[in-house]
Amino acid sequence: MDFNFTEEQQLLADTVRRFVREGYSFEHRREILKSADGWSRDSWNELAGLGLTALNVPEAHGGLNAGPVDTMLVMNALGEGLVVEPFLAAAVVTPALLSRLNDEKAAADLFPGIATGERIVIFAHQEPGTRGETSHVTTRAEKSGDGYVIDGYKNVVSHGGAADELLVSARTSGKPTDADGISIFRVDPKATGVAVKTYKTIDGQTAADVELKGVKVPASSLVGAAGKAHSAIEGTYEVAISALCAEAVGIMKAVNATTLEYTKSRKQFGVPIAKFQVLQHRMADMFLHSEQALSMSYLAAIKCTDPDRNERVRSLSAAKVVVGQSARFVGQQAIQLHGGMGMTDELMVSHHFKRLTAIDLTLGDTDFHTQRFIATPAG
């Protein structure tokens, strides 16, 4: 048992934290949010310069081959600063998927550009009705000549509009929730039949709905074995959940600190409102929630690559439940304790709150993961 980080990991955490504090101020972020794309290529290049885009890329393809604990530390820091660039989507999720599909050619094609940050490759999986269920795929890829024709609809794809290339899950056989029969295809977002509708989400991030209508792709665009992608997708989701939990933990830490500061400086009835026991106890509970979430974020990082599937699923779902509930409690109480000021766009806390809210709605919410936990027997 050991809760310490290696020197390299501490250095990584310090580096990203410094980037957030010095290069990603609230005002700077505001400017980015106002821009047409909703994220900044310059900031992205800075993150790439710190090595973050290469973090989860295998060494053989020019990456650092770091693990989920490194990703956790990065996400902690990015969460604090509410960084909106596509680190999670392009530098965590896509490498996790690509590494699990065992397709040397696709890996050799895609990883180098991912590692440098020059190419943004986005995994488009979620569909209306998915709600976290990784096997829910209704998008179909029918064999046609020496290629496939893809029809379907992907929704709220994080940074879908920024993609130079999409990795689309589509069913080559089976019924909508079968684990078997799901395949991954490389799709050019500019190809005929692909309609990408980009929009901003409430938390300041960007996402897209991707409609695929009779999209013709060559057989070579299939990544990995046909119909066998589900375990790779599920494994990718676990890695992504772990990263999201870490992001939430970083946000909660920041939220608790700003709430504490605010209640110490805000005076009512002639005293700082932090003097009131009802608020002290609320903040004690916020601390307690964030401690439990931190514990589960550790568990998630350790277990998201566990070879025992049941152990992995139970741990990650348990983590998502605790983090989702904590995020809701801490976020809601932070707004409450900031009073009217918490309602305003002017304060960071309302932005933190919105991201915490979004995290519980992403990759399966608390109810979904409670059910998945129940459905998965202990090892």
């Binding site: 048992m1 980080f5 504490l260 110490k264 002290q280 903040m283 004690a284 589960m296 568990l299 409670t370």
Partner: protein, 399 residues
């Protein structure tokens, strides 16, 4: 970062498991795993078995006859003992007064009291709370007046746990009523329960149990040599003791055992002809507690790791107390709801010792409502959960 036990720790766990398998009396384990109380002599019997093995005081340093185990080993031991159905440690001697005697007592006191705690010969109880001094403990009024070589003690203590079996009581008493701050006039006395003038009166709690007492002191003569540390410095020792009281307060091992019992009961009970455990609403309540317990276990391990580095439990122990007791209460509540109306019949089928049959309904249902009632105490004792929130806001948040 690694959440797994290392090879040495795993070997230790195996050693503990083997010992428990071989030495834990089956009748005691059965009683505990059925959620039923055990007798005072069962606690003493188990303490003697532990003592023979050299494990009488897991949390003591070696020089006083303890095991010298570190926090991780202690945690493993606590987990395994709880899972096997071993009696909980009655904390008053081993975990409360002993650390105070070790830290602040003189060598004569250490030689006189510690070996008898270790062997289980002396049963200790606590004289802290008073009718007017609960969370505000420092306002206590029990008076100790110095008369030559003795203190004359007068007053009343309450919520004294299991004092009806006790040989000794450690007490906080007011030795200087004129001290400028009430914390400054308190002394820490060790009192023989056989001393004339002590009266123990049972308080029957709502579950029908006799677990707590009032203890009255009427001109009780206590030799000055039974005072620990300096006169009027007792509050310092009391605070030290409260710090120790919170270790293993998370109770993860016992809660894991109770979670398994809950699942077993919910698998036997039916709803609409199907096992209750398959009912989505009930299953989600059970899952919530199980998930909270997983988080608590890791929070507890983090606190242990920190304790191993800093050599003292920090204020984070308050987090463990709050979450640990909330989970304990949730488990007793769910078990009671799991059996529905058969939680209500109260009493045994006969008064014969060892007869686990309940007066009506399945035997496992018999004690559940009483336990639910009894466990309302856990968020009140040991520094109420509101006091723990005060500690978090003062010691961690700096308010």
């Amino acid at each position: 970062m690694d959440l797994n036990f290392n090879a040495e720790e795993l070997a230790f766990r195996e050693e503990v498991r083997t010992f428990l398998r071989e030495k834990l009396p089956a009748d005691i384990a059965k009683q505990i795993k059925s959620g039923l109380p055990i007798r005072a002599q069962d606690y003493t019997r188990w303490q003697k078995i532990l003592h023979e093995r050299g494990w009488g005081a897991p949390s003591w340093p070696k020089q006083f006859g303890g095991t010298g185990w570190g926090p991780v080993q202690l945690h493993i031991y606590d987990e395994e003992a709880a899972a096997a159905g071993a009696p909980r440690t009655i904390p008053f001697g081993l975990k409360m007064v002993a650390p105070v005697i070790m830290a602040f007592g003189n060598p004569a006191q250490q030689q006189r009291f510690l070996p008898r705690i270790l062997s289980g010969e002396d049963w200790w109880c606590q004289g802290y709370s008073e009718p007017g001094a609960g969370s505000d403990l420092a306002s206590l009024k029990t008076r100790a007046e110095r008369q030559g070589d003795h203190y004359i003690v007068n007053g009343q203590k309450t919520w004294n746990t299991l004092g009806q079996h006790a040989d000794w009581i450690f007490c906080l008493v007011r030795s200087d009523p004129n001290a400028p701050k009430q914390q400054q006039g308190i002394s820490f006395l060790l009192i023989d329960m056989k001393t004339p003038g002590i009266t123990v009166r049972p308080i029957i709690t709502m579950d029908g149990a006799h677990e707590v007492n009032e203890v009255w002191f009427e001109n009780v003569k206590v030799p000055v040599e039974n005072r620990v540390g300096e006169e009027n410095k007792g509050w310092t020792y009391a605070k030290f003791l409260l710090g120790h009281e919170r270790t293993n307060i998370a109770g993860v091992g016992a809660s894991k055992r109770e979670l398994e019992r809950l699942k077993a009961i919910a698998s036997k009970e039916l709803k609409n002809g199907k096992p209750l455990i398959e009912d989505p609403l009930f299953a989600s309540r059970v899952a919530q507690v199980e998930i909270d317990l997983i988080a608590l276990e890791i929070t507890n391990l983090r606190a242990l790791a920190q304790e191993a580095e800093k050599h003292a439990p920090g204020p984070e122990a308050s987090v463990l107390k709050i979450k640990g007791t909330e989970i304990q209460q949730a488990l007793t509540e769910l078990m009671m709801y799991a059996v529905g109306p058969y939680a209500l019949p109260f009493g045994r089928a006969s008064s014969e010792e060892g007869d686990l049959r309940t007066v009506a309904g399945p035997d496992y249902a018999g004690p559940l409502a009483a336990t639910y009632c009894n466990f309302r105490k856990v968020t009140i004792y040991g520094g109420s959960n509101e006091i723990q929130r005060n500690i978090i806001s003062q010691m961690i948040l700096g308010l």
